[in-house]
Symmetry: C2
Subunit: 241 residues, 2 copies
């Protein structure tokens, strides 16, 4: 209720934040085509011409948006790694690995939506941001997969690992979007499916890898397989052929 006496720079910064917030909301709701200095300024509660007190043009605002989006992304990835390290035991590790990114997307769905739109749009100012984000996610997933016991030795294996990470990443996005659209109510189920997909890929990767890898790795894999099978419920025995 009490009036808040802001200094001039504080007030300016507040207006700037309002502009950024308004732009993000419009970007998410109407897409990049819906963005205009008129709409953004009006939504932020200032005159259209005052937009230029804060940004050289819309392109500059989008750049700031992309930088902040990137920072939030990196933070959420750090957070994910931290949680993964603290994650309870071997049994949950694999599944946690996929549930964490899903949750992270669902906490800020607009980031992914904007990224997915801009990724292949030549007219988008955010294309660079989208491409970098996609690459970052890909690397993140590749590191996750590596943490699950597989390390690539030669170029072919590295490329394969990247492709798998790319595929899993795309599947993660698709399932998260499906969840947000209400098609897949249960995120845990989505995590299960990503786990199953990745286990198939890792199994194949190990089976066809240049170097079979030390026995320890294989033992770890077996353990993970067993754990997953147990967690899944009544298991089909892996081999009677």
């Amino acid at each position: 209720m009490t009036s808040t006496p802001l200094t001039r720079s504080e007030a300016k910064d507040l207006t700037r934040r309002k502009l950024i917030r308004a732009a993000l909301a419009i970007l998410d709701e109407e897409g990049e085509a819906g963005l205009s200095t008129v709409k953004v300024a009006k939504a932020a509660g200032i005159a259209q011409s005052s937009f230029y007190v804060h940004f050289k043009d819309m392109q500059e605002l989008l750049l700031v948006l992309a930088e902040e989006g990137g920072a939030r992304l990196r933070a959420s990835m750090r957070e994910a790694r931290r949680r993964a390290r603290e994650s309870p035991g071997d049994l949950d590790l694999h599944r946690e690995t996929f549930r964490i990114p899903l949750e992270s997307i669902c906490r800020h769905p607009e980031l992914l939506r904007i990224q997915l739109r801009a990724r292949h749009d030549p007219s988008s100012s955010l294309r660079g941001f989208a491409t970098e984000s996609a690459a970052a996610y890909r690397e993140h997933h590749a590191a996750d997969l590596a943490a699950l016991g597989y390390t690539a030795d030669d170029e072919r294996d590295r490329r394969r690992l990247e492709m798998i990470a790319d595929g899993i990443n795309a599947a993660t996005n698709a399932l998260a979007m499906g969840h947000l659209e209400g098609r897949y109510p249960d995120l845990d189920e989505a995590a299960d499916i990503l786990t199953a997909l990745s286990r198939g890929a890792l199994r194949w990767l190990k089976a066809t890898s240049a170097k079979p890898g030390p026995a320890a790795d294989q033992a770890a894999d077996q353990a993970a397989d067993q754990a997953a099978d147990q967690a899944a419920g009544p298991a089909e025995g892996p081999g009677s052929a």
Copy 2:
């Protein structure tokens, strides 16, 4: 060299085709934001105002584009099914299932690019088309997976199968785009990875399915596993635990 004496309606239809072609090219190269009656008409070699002889507005042209895209999509899916039926033996079936869509995408990459862009863009006139296409692809993949030996019995299993198809579909698109962008030179490798992903998912689906399914299904699965393992090279034995 000889002049081609076209009737009036033939000439009109030709111009219409030119407009559609020009719009598709601009849409692919510059995105939906780059489309304007000025550019499209100029690219088609007519005056801007003549655009309206053929279409009520740009929206109508985009609708026609979407319809034609949808038709091409359905045709390529029919073609894929035909080829899959004619496909040689059990060994290649699983792999063919994934190579065919990859090839189909790479033959008309602009269709997927446009679809991926429009899919989550509220401002896009093509959003409906993109959503329908995505659903069609999803169903296509779900049918493919079903053809590989799995049929869903209850609602949970059907939803799971849809999620897996969604994930595999997203991965297919991602790998195809990566191929087109030059990151993954070999489409066969991409098909291998999709195969591996789907085998993991199907394995899990069967292991956790409500009804374990008839023995025949399981036998077929075992055979597919063996075939894939043989094709893959020196196999890691499935179980020594």
